[in-house]
Symmetry: C2
């Protein structure tokens, strides 16, 4: 089931030759960051993750150096949030093109520092090289207290699906930026949900960030846990206002803002019904409001209320699109619109593979 997704197949090919550390607590795909026992004398586990910003820069999606620096930190901090870790710091490896302007470099570094400030964390070190294209790699380090880490594994049918915040702004930003609109760019500056994440260990049954968009996240959780997800009738009220506005302006069906693969870096997490009160109390204490989004189903499929009917999404087709279009954004959007048209026609007859 994992291998229906091209990206999962590829990761499998890359990691097949690797042996696993006996100190590592998670297996491939099972958590957003790697969880490692650091020392026998400590009650904390170590969380570590690495993520590079490459295609986003090459495609022109990120062309503001401050945003590039900001995202290098945030995508990695978001992985720490998704496992319930408190950040210790980040290492940043930069590849700069020859003649990269001084002013852009200063903005890039400021974006890194601003994101660290926002997360209460620090740059610990890094490396710099020169190459053909600008690209940045972050490697973030965190600590998991009392060895209670969050993973993608463990949701059960009947569990409630929540988001830490409104959805769709990542894809709205990508659309406004890349689809040649005359609209002003959407404001996009996600913040890793570290504060929110503190309410989740011991309460959430599974957790994953939406770095690849909502549908890719639900699809991966579905494949890992052999369950499905159904969104609530009112799911559209959880769209970010800017995302709604853009969907109206572009006349695209709002659910496509969940389908695209440029994420909003919220956490999607599940909670057993009997833990819901506990979650809400803890969230209130930490000054945030979980957004209820749907529930976990027995059937391994992703269902969405659309025009008064429950439709089943072919999420493998939707996810694999991103691997198949070779960076051709217009083609990507067109293919998503084709899927939408099929959905509108076939409605509930449409069955995922």
């Amino acid at each position: 089931m994992m291998n229906a997704i091209i990206e999962n197949q590829f990761i499998r090919k890359l990691t097949d030759q690797f042996r696993r550390s006996p100190l590592q607590k998670n297996r491939t795909h099972e958590s957003d960051a790697e969880i490692v026992r650091f020392s026998t004398d400590s009650n904390s586990l170590l969380a570590i993750t690495t993520d590079s910003i490459v295609e986003e820069i090459a495609l022109g999606l990120y062309n503001d150096p401050h945003l590039i620096g900001w995202m290098t930190v945030m995508v990695n901090m978001s992985d720490l949030a998704a496992v319930g870790a408190q950040p210790l710091g980040i290492l940043v490896s930069e590849v700069l093109p020859a003649g990269f302007p001084e002013q852009s470099l200063a903005l890039l570094q400021q974006g890194i520092q601003d994101a660290c400030d926002s997360c209460g964390t620090f740059v610990l070190g890094g490396d710099t090289n020169f190459g053909q294209q600008l690209m940045l790699t972050g490697c973030a380090l965190g600590a998991v207290n009392d060895r209670r880490f969050l993973s993608r594994m463990g949701c059960q049918p009947g569990d409630i699906l929540y988001s830490t915040g409104p959805l769709g702004v990542g894809n709205a930003f990508a659309l406004s930026k890349l689809a040649g609109s005359s609209m002003a760019d959407i404001e996009y500056k996600p913040t890793a949900r570290l504060k929110e994440s503190r309410s989740l260990p011991g309460v959430a049954s599974a957790c994953m960030d939406t770095s690849d968009g909502v549908i890719a996240t639900l699809d991966q959780l579905m494949r890992l846990n052999h369950v499905g997800f159904e969104l609530d009738e009112g799911w559209e009220s959880n769209l970010h206002p800017a995302a709604k506005e853009l969907a109206d302006a572009f006349r695209i069906p709002p659910w496509l803002l969940l389908a695209g693969q440029h994420g909003e870096f919220e956490l999607l997490f599940t909670v057993a019904e009997e833990r819901e009160v506990e979650l809400l109390r803890s969230a209130e204490k930490n000054h945030w409001h979980p957004l209820p989004l749907g529930f976990v189903t027995e059937e391994p499929e992703i269902r969405l209320p659309l025009n008064g009917e429950i439709v089943r999404l072919d999420t493998s087709k939707i996810r694999n699109l991103a691997s198949q279009v070779n960076g051709d954004i217009q083609n990507y959007i067109n293919q998503l619109l084709v899927i939408n048209n099929e959905l509108q026609k076939g409605a509930s007859e449409y069955v995922s593979q």
Copy 2:
């Protein structure tokens, strides 16, 4: 004094805006890996480092995928060795060009795994992206027992300078690879000196790996510690046999194999005279032999016996060359030969700035 080196200036510019974590034990430049307190309940410190392989691939210096994978691990493990840390694992972020051959990818991954096996460590995770050129970033994680880490700081005049192994093979490899020779390539497959490093905490007064070659390493230690180094009369006997052979074949002065910036990944370390016996006993127990190379001097200069005279090297000029030639290897070698000619002429009159 640090700023006489273009690379140090650049690192300063990059890091000037960054705030330092109160949990971090080292300052910029002061150690090969970052040292961080992980948790108050642990007696171990965390060591973490990141290094990318970019220019070496772009220049064609590394064109064997197995070597590229191997080096991605080893350059990072070497940093751990230089701080006296035991490796916990490594994360690898790969940027692959479109259409990268399957077979090359398999060799690349095998090189990563083989290097991990050689170091007794593991790939913990990673990230993959597609870009214009192949490049790999490793981020290695280690533990420092009893909080006793090695740093670049602390050598005193009179201390003895040692290497963990023979020198010059990194530059010999680069020369055989890039200078268009008809000679067979030099065998180059460095192994991080993790075993050797176990003998050093509490014994060595300073330690740094030769990732940028011997002279760059001594120059950096000189600037950090406000001391100098003088190599022993017999320093040439510490050249790697393959390096000696290549120097003969190319008719280049052997000391240039210490001057180039492609390192052999040995550790250079210093030991106070009164700790020397302790070092040798510990090394013997760990089955290795430290190579005595020279000693620490009061005057902040790098001195080398050459043709029966002690010459002083202009190490800032030698190091900055690498930043100034823009990847033009032939020009780099020519400039080094010019420096050598000046040295031979001026001999002991030649004074470093």
